[in-house]
């Protein structure tokens, strides 16, 4: 690792940590409805919304009702996003006259955006109208993030309350998370991004006349307009020249801001945050990385605050941060090390004052190795999935980091809300294991952990590995799955594995060589995203309801302390044990064998 990489990592971590307390405290105040000034200012708007909706904001819900409201609200989102894509040609704000999206792709994208996954089988700049992007996709960037927040808050209330039947009002929680947390932050970030060169307009694409004439080869079309094939079945190519470059336009910054803040990750453009119009310089890159971790980290403080002991929140945050720093370093060292096969061609991959060096395939000059490796770790430790470099072209162990990060269940800070509630589930499992070892009834935050909580925790944790491994097994076995693979050998297996890991964890990043806009992948990944999102959410809400009803157990000298180093180690151990034991065989077939081949080959 170079000195510049180390400094960037330190500055980034320090800035993120500095934001934890103020934002965490603010979110606690918002979600508890305390009369701070933004809530007082927004009160008339809130009252108007509740009146039109017929909501009594004081009426709280039991966990089942909360879950039903959440599922209905999210299903409605899926229908609208699907409809917008299927009808976009006839709707306004489509200056490029993009056609209606195919049913399987529209289904996949609708599920993808309501589940906070933002897996993208399509190429944004040549598929989606501005209306679809703004009123369909970006809306779900807000609402899926708000959904994550409210589930985390409901679970926190489960710990904080005792003898209670209700865990909050879903409508009020959604409204407040959107109005007071997501919208103000997104507006601020969007304007900052535009000031650095991110697009924000509703214009048609702009044709420019380039300095040089570009000569290139393109596939020849036959009389019917289909790609022509020669006798061997290879496409026939023909020469073409052009001096026109078409520059894409659109309301990018407004979508970019919430895409990072809500850990959604769905790019306006195909290249996502690697695209200079989404992420034009090192400052925007830093802001985008900061935005990804802002809410997930701050929620740990919100948690501590709402359960009345901020040490509990810091302990959870410490466990996340330790895992994060280890994983970033693995990525940094391997990407900086470069590709030995490329080095042998007489290419300079050494880091110096004039170049970052390292493995630059699929990376941008302004980000180099440091900001690319850091972004890759941030985006997969959360459920974000935005990318500023192409993970498919990472070195085997560099690419192992994003894959493993997701396999841990995205708890290395984790997605907005999902990170905290997933980590709290691991904490429940951790105290249960510790309780077994010392022979006491396990307790967490004054609540007895009993068989119902353990059953629901197991459901919440095990659904992800189950759908990943079954999905990957099907993907590598059927023709429809094999057909999408771009790279040969172990790397091709990694592409399929990565796709199912990413979809199951609602991440959305990809080993993007895979051709996933097919009926097989659109359908399979759509189902996996749905199950991977709502199955754990219902289990978590069930735990919230069960805990809220329990009495508080008084603290005694025998109570296990759930802050401090012992608990942090226990929590990290639980996460690694579950994640590693489940996925080691799959990892051995993908990145690990590929690493051995690459390094072995370098001696030949």
């Amino acid at each position: 690792m170079t000195a510049a990489s180390a400094i960037l990592l330190i500055v980034y971590v320090v800035v993120v940590l500095l934001c934890v307390k103020p934002l965490g405290l603010y979110m606690a105040n918002v979600m508890e409805g305390r009369p701070i000034w933004p809530l007082r200012a927004g009160a008339p708007l809130e009252r108007w919304i509740y009146r039109l909706c017929g909501i009594d904001p004081a009426a709280e819900m039991g966990w089942k009702q909360y879950a039903v409201a959440l599922l209905v609200f999210n299903a409605l989102g899926a229908l609208v996003v699907y409809a917008l894509q299927r009808l976009q040609l006839w709707l306004p704000l489509n200056p490029q006259h993009f056609a209606n999206v195919s049913p399987d792709s529209a289904f996949n994208t609708a599920v993808s955006f309501i589940t906070n996954t933002n897996w993208q089988g399509y190429s944004g700049e040549s598929t989606m109208s501005y209306l679809t992007q703004m009123a369909g996709l970006a809306v779900q960037n807000f609402l899926s993030a708000a959904t994550g927040i409210v589930v985390a808050i409901a679970l926190i209330r489960g710990f904080a309350r005792h003898g209670a039947q209700a865990i909050g009002n879903f409508w009020v929680d959604m409204t407040r998370a959107t109005l007071y947390v997501l919208l103000p932050l997104a507006t601020l970030l969007a304007v900052l991004l535009v000031s650095q060169g991110v697009l924000q307009n509703l214009s048609a694409y702009e044709d420019v006349t380039t300095i040089e004439t570009l000569a290139y080869q393109q596939p020849k079309a036959d009389a019917a307009g289909n790609p022509a094939k020669d006798a061997k079945g290879d496409p026939v190519m023909q020469s073409a020249i052009t001096r026109t470059q078409t520059l894409p336009m659109g309301p990018v910054a407004s979508q970019e801001a919430i895409k990072e803040l809500g850990t959604n990750g769905g790019g306006f453009f195909n290249a996502n945050s690697a695209h200079p119009y989404e992420n034009p310089n090192a400052l925007t890159n830093f802001l985008e990385m900061l935005a990804i971790l802002l809410i997930p980290t701050a929620l740990t403080y919100t948690f501590g605050r709402m359960v009345g002991d901020t040490r509990q929140g810091w302990a959870v945050l410490a466990a996340m941060a330790i895992l994060f720093i280890i994983l970033v370093n693995v990525a940094l060292v391997n990407e900086q090390g470069g590709n030995p096969l490329v080095g042998r061609l007489g290419v300079d991959q050494s880091a110096g004052a004039l170049q970052p060096g390292g493995n630059m395939e699929g990376k941008e000059a302004r980000f180099g190795i440091a900001a690319s490796s850091l972004f890759a770790t941030v985006t997969t430790g959360t459920s974000c999935g935005a990318v500023n470099s192409m993970h498919d072209s990472f070195t085997p162990l560099g690419g192992f980091v994003p894959l493993f990060n997701m396999m841990l269940g995205e708890v290395v800070f984790g997605g907005v809300g999902t990170g905290l509630y997933s980590m709290l589930i691991f904490a429940i499992v951790g105290v249960f294991i510790a309780g077994l070892m010392i022979g006491r009834t396990p307790e967490y935050l004054g609540k007895k952990i009993e068989s119902f909580e353990m059953k629901m925790s197991s459901v919440a944790i095990l659904v992800m590995p189950f759908i990943v491994l079954v999905g990957t097994a099907v993907g590598v076995s059927v023709a429809g799955g094999q057909a999408g693979v771009a790279n040969p050998g172990a790397h091709g297996f990694s592409e399929i594995l990565y796709a199912f890991v990413s979809a199951s964890n609602n991440n959305g990043s990809a080993f993007a060589g895979i051709s996933a806009n097919t009926i097989f992948y659109n359908t399979a990944l759509g189902l996996v995203m749905w199950l991977g999102r709502y199955w754990p959410i219902v289990a978590v809400l069930a735990i919230a309801g069960s805990l809220a009803a329990k009495k508080r157990v008084p603290v005694t000298s025998g109570t296990m302390v759930t802050y401090g180093p012992t608990f942090v180690v226990l929590l990290i151990g639980t996460v690694l044990l579950v994640g590693a034991l489940t996925f080691v065989p799959a990892l051995a077939l993908g990145p690990i064998v590929e690493h051995l081949m690459l390094r072995g080959g370098s001696h030949g």
């Binding site: 609200f73 535009v194 307009n201 290249a271 590709n339 395939e361 699929g362 072209s393």
Partner: protein, 197 residues
């Protein structure tokens, strides 16, 4: 205060109305408000950072274009299809590190650089022969620009020192000493070269 199980209609109405209102707020009001602010405060940047030459747009400072003549600095390779540097199809190569196609793609790029400047025997900077993530990377490392300086100077009949000074003048360092990598914008550098005459 045991909440009863209410009828479905008590969920459907709030769901429908709240969804419509939040869609209006986050999907219409928010992007239009940001667009308004952007157009008022930063119109040049909000509209693509276009570069005008004699009043006509010749490109964007943020979007790479193809340069193959010896007298220009070449951009980083682009893996977009069908043509490279396609503004409507941003993409990386997504070639894995062991994929033979990666080496097959890099070899001719090295050969082209060597052929255009046979006397230059130093190793080629890696970013100059690897495809960028977006296919539209507008910049390259200072090492990549330095590598090409002698070729550009010779093709233009300029002193090498003048071309190197031009690179230095357009070089962008780390912001606050921390953020980003030392680099140079290829299109701006080439336009500055053309403006020398």
């Amino acid at each position: 205060m045991q909440p009863e199980n209410p009828p479905m209609s008590s969920i459907l109405r709030p769901a429908l109305v709240l969804f419509a209102m939040l869609t209006g707020l986050t999907g219409i009001v928010y992007p239009l408000a940001v667009t308004g602010l952007a157009q008022a405060l930063f119109p040049h940047r909000a509209n693509g950072s276009l570069i005008l030459l004699d009043g006509k747009p010749v490109g964007s400072r943020l979007i790479a274009q193809s340069f193959t003549e010896a007298k220009y600095f070449w951009s980083r390779p682009s893996a977009t299809t069908p043509q490279p540097y396609s503004g409507t199809g941003s993409a990386g190569s997504n070639l894995g590190p062991l994929n033979p196609a990666l080496i097959d793609a890099i070899k001719p790029r090295i050969a082209a650089l060597r052929a255009a400047d046979p006397d230059n025997k130093v190793p080629v900077p890696v970013d100059l022969v690897t495809a960028s993530a977006s296919g539209l990377d507008p910049e390259e490392s200072l090492a990549a620009a330095q590598y090409q300086a002698a070729r550009v100077a010779r093709a233009r009949g300029l002193p090498l020192a003048q071309v190197q000074a031009l690179i230095a003048a357009h070089a962008e360092g780390r912001l606050w000493g921390v953020l980003g990598e030392p680099r140079v914008n290829v299109l701006e550098l080439n336009l500055a070269l053309d403006a020398l005459k």
